[in-house]
Symmetry: C2
Subunit: 612 residues, 2 copies
């Protein structure tokens, strides 16, 4: 062993002890004939003092930043203590030292605030990983991993490894494939999730399964996506939705406690998918703040259960001669608290914000609900004050608030309103970094309609069960959509999934469902997705087969581990919480992968390039 | 929740309680108007009693094997207790039941001794997994996983995930590759191990790393190999060999204790690679039994340090006119304890055994060291009794032993002797199932000689450091072998690796090394393996780069997790300890993978088949 103690270990009580430390040179400070060196390792920093007797050796072997140093000496009480460092009461009076390895000058500073840009830090990721903020992220990641495993273990879950070389069944996302040399012409796929395997483990009676496992999706990457990502993947037998919700909100609360020291004692809120969309324009709402949407006008084809509510509203915003509202499919309002005094410059900026291509709206209607109770808007000539107050009331506007109204096509307008709400929540400091609010979103639609193919697609995945009371609707109706224009009246369009998402501060951190475990229902599902019997058999014959031999009721959930860590760590980017992430082109710029392979490899795999 | 208790939970103390159980029907036994059902889940079996009041319902809904059943009833004390079952004191008097799912008749019996053959059980792996022996294997696997993690955590190791989509650097085994759609014409590789990444983590100062991680090798499969396998992968900073040995024999002892309840208090034995080869003919000897090899003749080019020992022997077996020994490069003997009385039939069978193609020897020479001290051999006319006793003494033969002598080419003869020793150890019951003996094998040669290419290959891997005192030898000599015939006199041929294997009962369960952390030494190593500077840069530029920025001394080890579990579980086959293994052609016959992929996938990946 090159050391007797770590660089974070020694305290005043150790004074007088002879120690050997090893680590990296953080700083070298020369004062006349003495030299101070801060020596760093994973555990901390300890100050070394080289006095005049070592001067000559230091001159011959000068120390530089990031040199690897072994130092032998005695622990001394410091005269000039540093209360900010755990080892700040002591220093090591060095009697002997050895440079274990030198370092070139790093391309950026190894400090909390580095001067290195993203590209440089990714190329030299092994140096970036030395920085405290990155190290803290990986330590947090390990703490979350450990807490999740401990909770699951204590609750009787078993870690069972599922295979990585499986079968390509593209459905939704694209698979990464792996050519098989021993079975020329055939390919494995890397798993997008262990979904079918964990279901088979339930059929096998393993009862409670978990894995912290890599998954793969060959999708075009956005800033917060990676081609390989990690899931906390879980499945349980003989459970209903309520059992899963209880078990896994328990897990997240346990993680909060273990990792962040937070007692999350409140009940985890729940909402239906429809309520979330109606109220927040979003199926993963951030409920740390209000600013709920006022629905002034919606098409009669969606939110069917709300039509009554809407028609009872004292205000129809259409038909007043204001073309923007009259012609809009949807009109939505939010009340921005305490912002009635916004200047023209500020409201203009908001208009520009919603007109950006990412939002894509035509404009924004303002209504200032002044503190004195008067209202003033850009549409005063179409609406009287009474009507304007009704608009304000629709989104719970109070005197002093600025009401923002968006109008246009339903889907786009709702999304824009949600984005605007989130943006203002951020600007107004309502999305507090150290506040954590969990939310279960329930009762998703089981299907979405795929217009191009005039068929259903599974909103969650094809193994999700409908609500128990709607199994009959699914079994007893033909999934084929005879009349495309009338798809909303097909019985399948109203089937709700027995599925649930867990949302944390506006991010989906986990999602799952009670699964189909009946062969006939599973076949009906596959048929609804346009798979004929042959395709079903080719892709999922093993699962349909398994359902014939006593498949139990079961369900599960998967948490996006990278995302969960990033939110707990207070960051927007999952990349900061991955030791060796890939960039937006799916490249690891440090090792320079992917890369070309040898002709010998092509020959053995019996494939060749076919570049367009 | 479909149940109040599991099928392994209820005891006499629960008598009178109303319970709901759910599980699989193991057996149905009808006795007149009452029916007994054994209900099974992961946790155990509970007997259900259906009395006459449920008879009609049972007739309408007959139960079959593997049906999924929910039963409500009251816990009763059994009149006929079963002491072999934890729940054997009670039964459930069923008041209500529900068939949750039916089952077709399984293709084999779900019992400890099944009637299903290997192929059938692999195809219906989800049913095979229900069998107790398979379940116990996976439970043991999880227990080992958990124990290893706990030990490593308690010793300050951090689980850090390394990437799966990396760069192909074929060196030794073949890589599985993954075509990149976003970088057409380029490929990722799946990791054969996280070797370079864990070393980078040491360069980054993470100090103690571990992972229980899937690795991939595209090799032709033997019975105990899988294309994907799991490693317990570990690395430490600022350590020497001794630190690693202590840390990881500690881990294995901890696993013994936690998983098997065994206190492995003895010191773990150590041997050098040369001693192991000399004494056991094998670098992973089973030291549960003796039967050490007597070296009667070896070529003068190997075991150089033993030549003195050999030349001091009172016996040269060559030159007596017995052509088999005279012409042999190597003559080796083992003493089989207490077998001097073997019949002709028995010795003939042993001769046939060594002549099998897998062993490939020409024959076997016998020497019976009778209990009365006399000797009798098949070569009596070439050796007098005194000489024969010397031969027996070379392998520590005692009166009553049967001495077996093999002669031929060094490598083949030594391997054959080792195989014969293992076979006889097994036949004589010397390899006891419940005895566990650990052994460290040290001081491997750093290089092997590759005749075809007249260059060195790394015996362990190219990142293994030579012994500290031999670094100079490596740095200061040209690795090029000028004279192929004389390669044994090249200074590199005597360099020993700073490497270690952990052997358990004759199986290598782990191996590792102290790593090279100096750029110049690493370059020298790559050069010795025949890599020019360009190739070094292309394949390992990132690592050489990292070594310039303060790489610390480090080393590590990786355990073959599948193998470790199989040995602890008392099985020869790792496949029994993998939930979803592949067969010898690398196929998963249950899901039928690998398989063909769609033309669309080829198009997107810009590759095509090139079948020979």
């Amino acid at each position: 062993m090159y050391r007797t103690h770590t660089c974070g270990q020694l305290r005043l009580a150790d004074a007088g002890t002879n120690v050997t430390l090893a680590g990296w040179v953080q700083t070298v400070r020369k004062f006349g004939s003495i030299t101070f060196v801060d020596l760093r390792d994973r555990y901390g920093i300890t100050q070394l003092l080289f006095n005049e007797t070592l001067n000559q050796q230091l001159d011959e072997q000068p120390l530089g930043r990031e040199f690897v140093l072994q130092a032998i000496g005695t622990v001394h009480e410091r005269s000039n203590k540093n209360a900010n460092m755990p080892t700040g009461d002591i220093e090591i009076l060095v009697s002997e030292f050895k440079i274990l390895n030198k370092s070139a000058v790093p391309p950026f500073t190894i400090q909390d605030d580095t001067d290195g840009g993203d590209d440089l830090r990714m190329k030299y990721r092994y140096l970036d990983l030395r920085r405290n903020p990155v190290k803290r992220n990986l330590e947090l990641r390990y703490a979350v991993n450990r807490a999740a495993r401990n909770y699951l273990h204590d609750n009787g879950f078993m870690d069972i490894e599922t295979p990585f070389l499986i079968k390509s069944t593209p459905e939704g996302a694209r698979d990464f494939v792996v050519p098989s040399r021993m079975n020329a012409g055939q390919f494995y796929a890397l798993p997008q999730s262990p979904q079918t395997f964990k279901q088979l483990l339930m059929v096998s009676g393993y009862d409670r399964y978990y894995q912290v496992v890599k998954c793969f999706r060959d999708e075009d990457l956005r800033a917060d996506r990676q081609p390989e990502f990690t899931q906390i993947d879980c499945e349980m037998c003989f459970v209903e939705q309520e059992d899963i919700l209880k078990m896994f909100e328990g897990m997240i609360k346990y993680i909060f406690k273990q990792v962040k020291g937070i007692d999350y004692t409140e009940t985890v809120e729940r909402t239906t998918w429809e309520d979330a969309m109606w109220t927040y324009g979003n199926d993963k709402p951030d409920i740390r703040f209000g600013m709920k949407i006022g629905n002034l006008k919606v098409p009669s084809t969606i939110f069917l259960s709300r039509q009554q509510e809407l028609s009872n509203s004292p205000l129809g915003v259409g038909g007043t001669g204001f073309a923007v509202f009259d012609n809009a499919e949807t009109v939505l309002a939010i009340a921005v608290p305490g912002c009635a005094e916004y200047t023209r410059k500020q409201t203009d900026e908001l208009t520009e914000w919603v007109k950006r291509p990412q939002i894509g709206m035509q404009g924004l209607v303002f209504l200032k609900y002044n503190a004195d109770g008067t209202v003033k808007s850009s549409v005063d000539k179409f609406f009287n004050p009474e009507q304007l107050k009704h608009i304000a009331a629709s989104c719970k506007g109070q005197p002093g608030d600025l009401i923002l109204i968006l109008a246009g096509r339903e889907e786009k307008t709702r999304k824009a309103t949600s984005d605007l709400r989130m943006e203002l929540g951020k600007r107004l400091g309502l999305r507090k970094e150290n506040e954590f609010k969990l939310l279960w979103v329930l009762d998703f639609p089981l299907f979405e309609y795929a217009e191009e193919e005039n068929r259903w697609v599974a909103r969650h995945h094809p193994f999700t069960s409908p609500k128990p009371e709607q199994i009959g609707t699914m079994i007893n109706n033909n999934p084929v959509i005879e009349n495309a224009a009338d798809y909303l009246n097909h019985p399948y369009s109203n089937i709700k999934a027995n599925a649930y998402d867990m949302v944390l501060n506006g991010n989906e951190i986990g999602g799952g469902s009670i699964r189909i475990f009946q062969r006939d229902l599973q076949e009906k599902m596959f048929a609804a997705l346009g798979m004929d019997e042959e395709e079903q058999q080719h892709k999922f014959g093993f699962l349909l087969g398994a359902f014939e031999y006593g498949a139990p009721p079961h369900g599960g959930i998967a948490f996006g581990f990278d995302r969960l860590c990033s939110i707990l760590g207070g960051s927007e980017s999952i990349r900061d919480f991955i030791a060796f992430p890939k960039n937006n082109s799916g490249r690891d710029v440090m090792i320079d992968a992917p890369s070309v392979i040898d002709q010998k490899q092509f020959d053995e795999l019996q494939i060749k390039l076919d570049l367009k």
